[in-house]
Symmetry: C2
Subunit: 200 residues, 2 copies
């Protein structure tokens, strides 16, 4: 979808690289930026630069932060004996919105995916193992998504950690709250059945 | 939807300003950029700067171009006696993809919209009038969209041009090709009826 204007095509390609942006939206975004004033362009460009310069990984949990140590790791009230292992920063944000979790996190920055060439050493597993050197940590909750990659990564890490004797748990799978049984797919239903609990 | 990381929120806000990007996608795009290498960030930022620096409006038709005069206006084979008046550069691209139009364009860079505070003087009407000083132009095709703003703008411009004696036409409205009658809305149907033609 060339526009015949090289600089515009290059900008549209940059937008098309971003997740969830198709060719047509990318062109639309590029054209919208061209309507910006010079000051607005400057604000956009400097927001990109500032974010990249100021935000780094927390040396403990690997979540993104603009402080030396992220607020969760720095918070003395958080339970350091439970680590919730997640795919990315967005998963941490989702858990923090719920407010019912008081442990800490470990951000993998990816999931194992042989199809996309993502091997275990691309994840922050060395940093996770380093956190298990003393016996502060009692439980690891594998909270990767219920996808093929999420399951494979949870399985891989639980095997990796089994010699260390730490308890490894997995988020429950099942019918989502408000979900109608007839619309649940077969895998969800079989998970829900396998994970059934006694009613008290 | 604050993330608690100021530089990230500022970047997400910048993305949220762009058309069709909601709060949640904006945050996703900002996080995706943070995963970029320094070189990739540099490529992104310089694509924005280059596009803004190199692309300007064609002095004749006001379409975006990186040349002195845009390729359509510079093309001696294009019929300079017909001007197709459109809202933006994307409309020109749509017409050029069809390849059945051999006239030239005039890009308004907007539509009159009292609701959004866009008055006629925000459009490139002065530049359009300047093109009608001699009698090269025989026909103006109003090709703004079939929306309230598109109709109002077409009507406004046709009244503005009527003292000049140039022929002003409007794109046909009707049932789109392949459109089922039962799914056409009432306005489309009444346009299609009003614009009915003799079958030859």
């Amino acid at each position: 979808m060339s526009t015949g204007i090289e600089a515009l095509d290059i900008l549209a390609e940059q937008f098309a690289r971003l997740p969830g942006i198709g060719r047509k939206s990318a062109q639309r975004l590029a054209l919208a930026l061209l309507e910006y004033s010079d000051e607005d362009i400057q604000a956009f460009v400097s927001a990109v630069g500032e974010a990249k310069a100021k935000i780094h990984r927390c040396p403990i949990c690997q979540n993104l932060t603009d402080r030396e140590v992220c607020p969760v790791c720095a918070n003395a009230a958080r339970d350091k004996s439970v680590i919730c292992v997640v795919e990315d920063a967005r998963a941490v944000m989702a858990f923090e919105r719920v407010r019912s979790y008081n442990g800490v996190y470990h951000v993998l920055h990816g999931l194992i995916s042989p199809m996309s060439g993502i091997t275990p050493d691309a994840l922050t597993l060395r940093e996770l193992l380093a956190r298990l050197q003393d016996d502060t940590v009692k439980e690891i909750i594998m909270a990767t998504g219920a996808t093929a990659e999420g399951e494979a990564t949870a399985m891989y890490i639980s095997r990796l950690l089994s010699p260390l004797g730490v308890k490894v748990t997995r988020l429950a799978h099942g019918i989502p709250y408000g979900g109608e049984l007839e619309y649940a797919d077969e895998i969800t239903l079989s998970h829900a059945l396998a994970g059934r609990r006694n009613l008290e």
